[in-house]
């Protein structure tokens, strides 16, 4: 019983501390690879020792200290290899640049210089929270977006390469190579390990939030792999959102993103039926919605709007909140939602946003108004291969009682749809249009 409790503790500590410990150790040793290896080894020792010796008083400090010692061991070994002329082994320790800078071995033992030139004190407990530096480095625009996502999940969330590969339906060797190359670029191009200047912060923060949102959407989308993995991704994204909010206490931007993710996530249990079929918002059993997430999302939206923050995440969160607050579909405040989509079209004009606005307008002012907007989108040649355009048209035609036209539109949508769950839903609607009486 006690052993199980202790094991669970270590899992929990891993979950909570991996990112923070790694971020600190990267600062200390100046290398992603060396730090990752050292922290991995530290956790291995923890798993071996803690069940029998008990948890240390300050697990985080213990992990950081142990990792630092492991890193020193690596550097010493690599230096010995280099001195012995074993260049290949010395290189694999990924410590060349550190070795070139620190020729004095005792210097290595005394301290490890951080990037600003300050010596990290020997007995400091756990150092500053370096996760901001870590996340900004992972999400640097000089890295390909898929690399940003992979490295963020690996370093901040501690997901294994295999877990990340599974989540994004990519072969394991491909994902492993992606991570290797990303860290190589950080090293070779000398991407600095720091929080960007105030001047660059808004743009850089946008990139970070986009990565977090991509992770969330990957988990949320009906098109990805297995259920468990998808739910984990949403949870990781929300965790990252929380960390960002914690690290940027005065910034409404990450709060808007967190609100949006929580409000979407609150519907998780209601979105799929017993046979994994898609259940639309209108048809969902609202008693299955997570009230805690809705309350938290609501508080965040209110705070964000009070702060005058109106980016695309904030507006989408406000829309999601209006849905969450409607006890029944009939009570949904469609006029306000349509109004918010008008605003969103200003702030973040994309064809998909226009599409969503058209659907909302159709609900607020009548199908004809929505259909007109959809026609305008189609006339511009936008979203030609996107199944949701004919699907949205089909839906409004259905509500207007124009069955045969709706059926035709459902067929168009079916020709374009990719995911099994969405296909099933469209087929169900098509059948309704074809078999119901006039």
């Amino acid at each position: 019983m006690a052993t199980v409790a202790r094991t669970m503790n270590i899992d929990q500590i891993y979950r909570e501390e991996w990112g923070r410990v790694l971020a600190t150790v990267i600062r200390m040793v100046g290398s992603f690879d060396l730090a990752e290896e050292a922290v991995q080894e530290a956790f291995t020792v923890a798993v071996e020792k803690w069940p029998s010796e008990g948890l240390p008083q300050n697990p985080r400090a213990w992990l950081v200290s142990t990792a630092r010692h492991k890193a020193i061991d690596h550097l010493r070994r690599a230096r010995r290899m280099e001195l012995q002329g074993d260049d290949d082994l010395a290189r694999t320790a990924d410590s060349r640049s550190s070795l070139q800078k620190h020729s004095d071995e005792s210097f290595l033992e005394e301290s490890m210089r951080d990037q600003s030139g300050h010596h990290a004190p020997m007995n400091h407990s756990s150092g500053n929270d370096e996760r901001l530096s870590l996340i900004f480095t992972c999400c640097h625009p000089a890295l390909a977006q898929e690399s940003q996502v992979a490295l963020t999940l690996r370093t901040l969330c501690g997901l294994t390469t295999e877990e990340i590969a599974r989540a994004f339906l990519v072969p394991l060797p491909t994902m492993a190579q992606r991570l290797v190359r990303t860290k190589q670029k950080i090293r070779a191009a000398e991407i600095p390990y720091r929080v960007p200047d105030k001047r660059d912060l808004p743009d850089r923060l946008e990139a970070v939030m986009l990565v977090i949102y991509l992770v969330f959407n990957e988990g949320y989308a009906a098109s990805s792999g297995d259920n468990l993995v998808r739910r984990e991704l949403c949870q990781e994204a929300i965790r990252l959102g929380r960390i960002l909010c914690e690290l940027l206490p005065d910034d409404p931007a990450p709060r808007a993103l967190l609100a949006l993710m929580l409000l979407h996530d609150s519907r998780r249990s209601a979105r799929t039926g017993p046979n994994n079929e898609l259940v639309t918002l209108e048809e969902q059993d609202r008693t299955l919605w997570d009230r805690d997430e809705i309350h938290e999302g609501q508080a965040l939206v209110e705070a964000v709007l009070r702060a005058g923050h109106r980016d695309e995440y904030a507006i989408q969160a406000a829309i999601a909140l209006l849905h969450a607050q409607a006890e029944t579909p009939a009570e949904t405040d469609w006029p306000q939602i349509a109004g918010l989509y008008d605003l969103l079209c200003h702030v973040h004009p994309t064809p998909v946003v226009e599409l969503n606005r058209a659907a909302a307008v159709g609900m607020a002012r009548g199908p004809d108004h929505g259909l007109q907007l959809l026609d305008e989108i189609a006339a511009r040649g936008e979203l030609e291969d996107y199944y949701l355009l004919p699907a949205a048209r089909a839906d409004l035609l259905r509500r207007a009682g124009r069955k045969s036209e709706a059926a035709a539109a459902y067929r168009s949508a079916l020709a374009l749809v990719k995911s099994g769950a969405e296909k099933q839903y469209l087929q169900k609607r098509l059948l309704e249009m074809e078999t119901e009486g006039p």
Binding site: H140, P141, A142, L143, A188, D203
Partner: protein, 115 residues
């Protein structure tokens, strides 16, 4: 008159070479650089790190965009160069963004391989 000699190689081919072969090629370069340096023929030269280390900067409508990877537009052509000193990639990108052509073209930022 001055000329710029641009070295286009084959990274995939280089990756297949064994260490002794590479060392031998590097020695050829070192000897050439030494000779040209002495005679004043060469005003400078460097090996670049591989394209995996490249980033490309553009500024459009006042907004800077940085992307991973080397320059790859077919409708833009090499028109000039700067060799700069920067403390890290961020500073190099900032410098790149100040070059006038960044507003209609692209600036590839490639780290130099120090020897």
């Amino acid at each position: 008159m001055k000329y710029l000699l641009l070295i286009y190689g084959n990274e995939a081919h280089w990756d297949t070479l064994k260490e002794p072969e590479r060392m031998s090629i590097y020695k050829e370069y070192m000897d050439l650089s030494a000779e040209w340096g002495k005679s004043g023929k060469s005003l400078g030269g460097n090996e670049l790190k591989p394209i995996a280390t490249a980033s490309t900067v553009r500024v459009r409508n006042g907004k800077r965009s940085v992307t991973d990877g080397p320059f790859a537009e077919t409708k833009e052509q090499l028109g000039g160069y700067y060799l700069v000193e920067a403390k890290d990639l961020d500073e190099a990108l900032e410098l790149a963004a100040k070059i006038p052509s960044v507003r209609w073209g692209s600036i590839e930022v490639r780290p130099i391989n120090p020897h």
